[in-house]
Structures are given as structure tokens and as C-alpha cells.
């Protein structure tokens, strides 16, 4: 790790001011993505602005929405009875992230801001049609995840909370990478007033919606409805753990299992 200056602001505004004045400042939430990168000397921020004292933590369920403070750790979401009652698939997803250390430090804000192509939360955001609330505005999930490790966030913008509308039914099925346990393929499905959503993470360079499956499920929200729908492998990731062809196959399997879970 290289040397850096550490700050711990008390408010989000202060954090933004520090970010603006720093040479090459970085926000720090749970640190479970950022710190390993710094230790490997792949990142060398001049200033580290710890959001620990500034960000809202906690979960609120009201007006048909689950709102999670950006600083809330995965373990809190996984074990929240409010989340389990409102959107059980979301609690389940959080429980499948990493290991206990990761879940007790990593935050939803950090996960979404980082937008790792194999992360779990982006699937929930896109699969539920969440709204990402930032220091400056509200961004729909459909517009937020713009590419590999890339989001619609501006340079000095901080995620403050994420708002998930409660669906009628939802399910998440994850095929973990055998080594890292990140999602090699994860599919989040939901059925709500606004329609059907099928969001796929891990398979491509960025989380995406599977339109063919959404259309097939529109009339009949059952796994049998997508039995014949195939995922094209052209744009999918390929690595030592899974070829694009295998990932495409798993998208189908995981989608069916997610629907079974949602309807089961």
C-alpha cells in the first residue's frame, strides 16, 4: 500500500468537499473492494475519505418500498426480518455475498458504486427496478449500471440510499464462481405491478435485463414458460472458470430456479 491521507468526515457534504479538494481522493465504505486493490498497489489514492461516520445505515420499510441506507452492511440486510418479510429474495441475496467477514464490513453503497460485473446487488437493483438515491439526485437502476465497473455516478457524487419497490414475487438464484464465490451467473426475477424483470449478473461485462425471458414470463410467470428461451453467448464473459457458452446455459438454469423460488 502507498501512503495516503485519511479523513473521516461527519457528513456527506463534508465528504464531498474533501473529495473535491483532494488531488486524487477516494471514498471508503466497507473497504472490501478498495483496500485489497490498494494493498496490491493497483490503486494509489492521495486521500481516503472514510464514509463510516457520514453515511446513513439502516433499513426502512414503508409506502411499499424497502429503503436501505448506503452504509448498511450485507449482514444487516441478510438478517433483517423486515427485509425477509417484504422481499425475501433480497435478504437471501445479501446472505450469499462473500463470507461473514465480507458481509459484516461490505456495504450496499460500495457494492453498487463499484459495479463489479460479478457482484450480487446490481442484480437485485435491476431485477427489482430500484432507485439509487445520491447526494445530488435519484437515478433509476435501468440508467445506473452503465458498464463494467462503471456507473452513472458523477465524480463527486455519493450514494446515500437505495430504494427497492416491494414486488408481488421475487427470486434470486446464484451460481457461485467455484473459487471466489462471486456470482459466475446470478439471476434475479420479479413480478410486480410495473411488470416482469429478469436481471442477470456475472454472465456479461455488466448486469443486464434478459428481455426474451421477461416477455415469456409476462403471460405466464412460471419456469416452464422460459424452458425454451435461450441466452445468446455472443457478449458473455469467458474465463478459466466458465466459457461464454456455459455461462449462457447457466443463465437459463438459474432463471428457471429463480422463478421456481419466486413462485414456490
Amino acid at each position: 500500500m502507498y501512503e495516503f491521507t485519511y479523513h473521516r468526515p461527519a457528513t456527506v457534504d463534508e465528504a464531498i468537499a474533501l473529495l473535491k479538494s483532494a488531488d486524487d481522493g477516494k471514498l471508503l465504505a466497507g473497504g472490501h473492494t478498495l483496500l485489497p486493490t490498494m494493498k496490491q498497489r493497483l490503486a494509489s489514492p492521495s486521500d481516503l475519505i472514510d464514509l463510516g461516520g457520514a453515511l446513513a445505515t439502516g433499513i426502512d420499510v414503508s409506502n411499499g418500498c424497502v429503503t436501505i441506507g448506503a452504509g448498511t452492511c450485507h449482514a444487516d440486510v441478510a438478517t433483517s426480518s423486515d427485509v425477509a418479510n417484504a422481499i425475501p429474495a433480497l435478504a437471501k441475496l445479501a446472505s450469499m455475498i462473500g463470507d461473514p467477514h465480507v458481509r459484516n464490513k461490505g456495504t450496499i453503497g460500495g457494492s453498487i458504486a463499484n459495479n463489479d460485473p460479478a457482484a450480487d446487488y446490481p442484480a437485485a437493483c435491476l431485477g427489482l427496478g430500484a432507485t439509487i438515491v445520491t447526494s445530488a439526485r435519484e437515478i433509476e437502476a435501468d440508467d445506473f449500471f452503465t458498464g463494467m465497473f462503471d456507473t452513472a455516478l458523477g465524480d463527486d457524487e455519493v450514494i446515500t440510499s437505495v430504494r427497492f419497490p416491494v414486488p408481488a414475487k421475487a427470486g434470486y438464484s446464484k451460481f457461485p464462481n467455484p473459487a471466489s464465490r462471486y456470482a459466475m451467473v446470478g439471476v434475479f426475477v420479479s413480478s410486480a405491478k410495473g411488470g416482469i424483470r429478469v436481471a442477470v449478473t456475472g454472465a456479461g461485462p455488466c448486469v443486464f435485463r434478459q428481455g426474451d425471458m421477461e416477455a415469456a414470463l409476462e403471460g405466464d410467470f412460471a419456469s416452464s414458460a422460459i424452458a425454451g428461451v435461450t441466452q445468446a453467448d455472443g457478449d458473455l464473459n469467458s474465463d478459466i472458470h466458465a466459457s461464454a457458452e456455459y455461462r449462457a446455459h447457466l443463465v437459463g438454469v438459474m432463471a428457471r430456479r429463480a422463478v421456481d423460488q419466486a413462485t414456490g
Binding site: 500500500m1 502507498y2 496490491q40 451460481f175 467455484p178 473459487a179 471466489s180 478459466i240 472458470h241 466458465a242 466459457s243 456455459y246 446455459h249 447457466l250 438454469v253
Partner: protein
Amino acid sequence: MTDTGIGARVRRKEDKRFITGHGNYTDDINLARQTYAYFLRSPHAHATINSIDTAEAAKAPGVLGIFTGDDLAADSIGGLICGWLIHSKDGSPMNAGGHPALAQGKVRYVGNEVAVIVAETHAQAKSAAELVDVDYSVHDAAVDTGSAQASGAPQVHEEAPNNTVYEFGLGDEAATNAAFEGAAHVTELDIVNNRLIPNAMEPRAAIGAFDQGTDAYTLYTTSQNPHVARLVLSAFIGVAPEHKLRVVAPDVGGGFGSKIFIYAEETVCVWASKKIGRPIKWVAERSESFQCDAHGRDHVTNAKMALDKDGTMLGLRVKTIANMGAYLSTFSSAVPTYLYTTLLSGQYNIPAIYAEVDAVFTNTAPVDAYRGAGRPEACYVIERIVETAAREMGLDPADLRRKNFVTEFPHVTPVIMTYDAGDYHASIDKACEMIDYSGFGKRKAASEAAGKLRGLGFSAYIEACGIAPSAAVGSLGAGVGLWESAEVRVNPTGNVEVLTGSHSHGQGHETTFAQLVSDKLGIPVDQVEIVHGDTDKVQFGMGTYGSRSGAVGMSAVYQACDKVVAKAQKVAAHVMEAAEGDIEFKDGSFSVAGTDKSMAFGEVALTAYVAHNIPEGMEPGLKEGAFFDPSNFTFPAGCHICEVEVDPDTGVTQVVDWVAVDDFGTVINPMIVEGQVHGGIAQGVGQALTEGAVYDTESGQLLTGSYMDYCMPRAVDLPELRLAFTETTCPSNPLGIKGCGEAGAIAAPAALMNAVTDALGVADMPMPASPQNVWAALQGAKQAAE
């Protein structure tokens, strides 16, 4: 009588300090004025070093010194060695190629040591390393095992044309050819034994310290064999004379072979400590462990077995290409030759065997012994081909094995081993009973009803352990003898210190060796202290690997105990005024037969040290040493059976049952032996189900360089392991011990892959049986059926 003797489930004495964080590992040791080393490593798999400019780095904060291969050469420090000379079929010696501790002229794999930076802190050394300017001319890399010898392949060492280290052969080629000519059935398999990365929990580490007052060096290091390290560093590498070099291997957190070898880093730390005038510490980062610890396995093999029409084995022919990596590591040359081809007969009576092994250099990390070392590869070949032959011929795989088992001992195989004792029917029968072999069809049907594919696989393994008879290995090219030493020091108060040349790095010697002494001398284990791992304390010894510490190390302790008892008996006879022949030693007490006169062991010890009343001419004291050289290898053997369920939708394989019936001869502590079997199976399951080192075949970059990509087995990957023991006594050591440290890792991969291929209905598929590989095999089978 103590209840802590041979056969007792004594809790491990060493665990208290390990579990409560009081272990003393190399990195726990900090010397006054200690400095830190960071190794600048090659980012290229294959390149010529045109120049190294250290000027900027030398000015960086905290930097005390920077050294390169030129500095080693200037001090006449020799290269790292390979201690086993293998000859090719044509009689020529192997083509070794030099292995300087810091690269000289060329780098040959990603991670190859280029320079060492010594600084006040580790962070300073690492930062300074970024300022060292190395000018490389990058060459194409030879990476793939199977094509390393192809014409036009990049050449790793000038000394080894076509990257060929040796072309080894063992067995009778003509007899084997003849066996195939008459055969009713020939089974052929092309199999790959995947490359593994050892992953001991404690990374390698070293502290080199030079004492100007005594002109002597001390090296603290993570070694399985500190005396061998000292011998190599002094006699071959020339860092310091043997009597001026102390090597200490304190608590060591796992080795699995990877800490046998004498590596560049400890060599450089000890040498440079004199140049810097201060102690130098180096601790591997985990990514360095992945890149630079010697890897294991990596064979590409074609095997053919000839059988007559009712399944009697007639002959076996094996051709293997073994990847040695970029340099020959300490024992690497022996692994695919004398530790591999010699076990290809398995548990079977095969009249003719011919095996050829080409060892090849590639631009990858050196490959050397890793838990099982050669024997897992041999077991994999023979047990996969036997299972395949049974399937092809429509024979029951258990019956085909039974039909061909060796049943008479001693049995000389066509590949120079003399099996001394065993009962292979007993272990397969017991294993079949435990797994309910006859009920498999029902279980398969039940799995099928649940949409799963079920398979069952055998592995009737044998290994050669207790390494090894010195003269025998000497005749095969070993540079050292493989006996073991012990000294048993009885203190005046009657408790005992045992100095052993064996080294414990997880095996529990402090418990099992104490149990042996407890049994022999009739004193409780807590009266026995096991001392190991320090060349200043312990007489020369050969260390721990090859499942040798029980069979060889303990046998030395056994002999030393016998000498102690013999002397004590004389003292007791003298004090009790009886004839020596009338003294009986039992349960820690010397008594005169037919009388009620007796002396406790401790009393006799005190008498020997006080020396007021000992036989005339006898030297005072009670301390005896022994060197034990076994008369043969030992041959642990047994039968593992596993069952798997495969999810055809995803390719996920779940191991649902595992039985292991092992014959280890005498068992000192069943709990510890079970632990060894559990760990061994877990490592074997790791190889077959999850692990595999992958290099980019073009660039030679290690793609599995962290736990993000290198998949270690986890607890969820294993079922409840069900173990049993059968016992035939080993005749080549006084305790009848065969050894248990490697068995699980040797047996497991074949059992698992036999089960997976059974479930999938395919002839072969590559290890590991990862979801992707299993799914691909299923797709292949589907296409073949269409």
C-alpha cells in the same frame, strides 16, 4: 502401565499453543536490528536481462542494500541444486541447467528472482523495488507440458536441447511388447494429472542473521528438514561452512512437500545478512507463494493395459511427459521417476511393465514433491485404467481388481519394488461392505428419480513410504542417504528429552513420538519432550517427508530407547545386587524376578547420574543415540470408494459418500492417523474436484495466482468421511509402521474421477471435475450419442 502408549487416542500436546496463538513461527521471531528483504521478480515468463539499474532505488528511503545475480557470482555463491541424479535410457546423465538464487542473464518464469532489496521496513523495500530499472528482451515462452519438446519450441536452458531433462525408462520393454501381442483386450487412456499449488497455511519465510563476533550464521526458516537445508547451503551453495551455520525451523504451519526444498529466498537472506551486517527477514506474500513455491504433479500420460479374455492382466505400458518447470528444484528429478514408475504395478500381479518418462523444462514455476509425490500420479494411472478396462470388458471393477491382486509376499514387481506385506482382499472387501456396494443400483435409481446422475469409483491404492533404504536410493542416484537419527536423553529426575531428526509441521510428532517413549519406558507422555528443528540442538537428521517419520524417525527413537533400557537394566541389577538376566523391565519399573525388589525408572536414572553406585567401568549418565536405516520401503495400501451425485443441469458434482479402508501397519495414535487421512483425502478431493494451476499458454502468466481463481476445497465439498483400518505388520522396521501421511492424497483423485466418469458414462475427463469441465463432458457425451 501408562494409558498414553502405542494405540492410545492421546490429544495432541502441541495443539494448546497452536490454538491459543502461542505458536512460534518464523514470522513471530524478530531479532534486534532486523531488516526486511523484498524480492524483485520477473514479470516475464522468458526474457534476457540486458541490464539492471539500481541507482534510483538505492537512494530510496530506508534502503540498505540491493543485490543481483552479479553480486552472488562475485562472492562465488553457487546455484541451487537438484539432489538426485537421474540417467536417461541411453545412460547419459540428466541435463540440469544452472539455477542461480538471483537470475543471471536470463529469467525463466514469472516470479523468477531478479534482485533483492533490503530496507528498514518491508514497505520501503517494496517501494524501492519499483525504482529498479530492468531492461528485458522478452522471448516466446514454452508453457504447455505436452508440446514442450516440439521442434521450434522456445528453449528454456541451452543445456537441455528440446527442453528435455532426461528420457527415463524402467521395466522390460521387450517382455511388455510380447505381452501386448497376445492380448485379447487392450485398454488405452490419455490422461492428464493436473498441476497443483501447495498452499500451506503459513507462507514460506526466512530470517538470515550473521554474527560478527563468532563469524557464524543463523537461518530461521520454514523447513521440513533443517539439517538438509544446512548441508545444501554449506556444501553445495557455499554460503558458510556447516559448523558456522545454524538452521532453525521453529513451528511450521504446513509443508506438504513445498518446504523440503532449498529456495532462493533463504539462500539470499542468509548470505546478504553479512553484507548488510544486520539480520534480514523475508516473509512471502500469498501471491508470491502462488507464483514461487514449487508446484506439484503436471503429467501428460498415455497408458495401455493388456488383458486376457477373462480379465487377467498381462502387461502395462506407460509413457509420461513430466513438467519440471523452469529449474530443477531440490528433489524434482526423483518424483516422476523413482517415486512414480516404481508404483505403476499398483496392487496387481502384472507380469510385464514398461514405463518411459520424459522430463521437460518449461517457463513455469519449478515442480517438485507435493503430498504423495509421484505416487498419486502412479495411482491415478493404474486405478483409472483398471476401472476403464473393467467397464470396457463388462466386468465388475471390484472383481477385476480381486482377480489380479498380489496375494503372496514378498512380491517383486517388474518395476523394482519388493512388496513386503499386505492384504488387498481384506481392504476391498471391507470397503465394499461399508459402502453397501450391492445396494448401489438402488441408490443410483433414487438419484435418477431426483434428476441426478450417481456414480461410484474405486481406488485400490498402494504407495511406497518410509523413505528410504540409503544404499538402495544411493544406487538410484540420490545424493544423500535417507536414514533417521534420534537421541534419547533421560534427565536425572527421570523425565525424558527426545532429539529427533524428523520435523513436525502439522503431523503431531510431539504427541506420537512421546507416546512411543511412553510405551517403551513406561512413563506418561507429559514426562516426554520432543525436540526437533534446530541444528544446534539436534544431531544430523534427514527431516520429514514421504511418510517417513513414523517408520524411520520413530524407529530410531525405538532403538535409542532400547539402548537406554539396556544400560538402565545394568544399573538396576547392580543396585539391587541381582544378575542382569534376572531383571525385568515392565510398566516403568525394574524388578528382580521372583522377588519383591524393584526400582522405578526415575530412580535408576538418578542413580546413573549421581554415579555413586554404578557398575565398575560404566560411564555415568543415561543418554543414548541411534541411527535407523530401513531395510526396505514400506507399502501402505488400502481401498477407497466414493460416490458422487452430478447435477446434469449445472455440472455440479457433490461427493455424497466416502469410505477409506487403510492398512498402515501399526497405528500409534488412531485419532492423529484419522486426521492425516482426512487431510489427505481433502487434498486429493481438491486435486480432482476443484484445484488446478493454469498458466496462459502464450504469455506464461499464472492465471490462478490468488484464491479468487485458484479453488481450494472447502468443508462443504466433503461428505462425512468413513474410515476403517486393516493391519498387516511392516517387516522392515521394528515398530511395524507403514506410514499414513500421504495415503489420502494418493488414493482420492482416482476414486473421485472413477466415480465422476461412472456417473457421466464417459471414458475420461480432465481433472478437476469442476462444474464447467463436467458440463462440457456431458455435452460431449450428448453430441457423441446423437
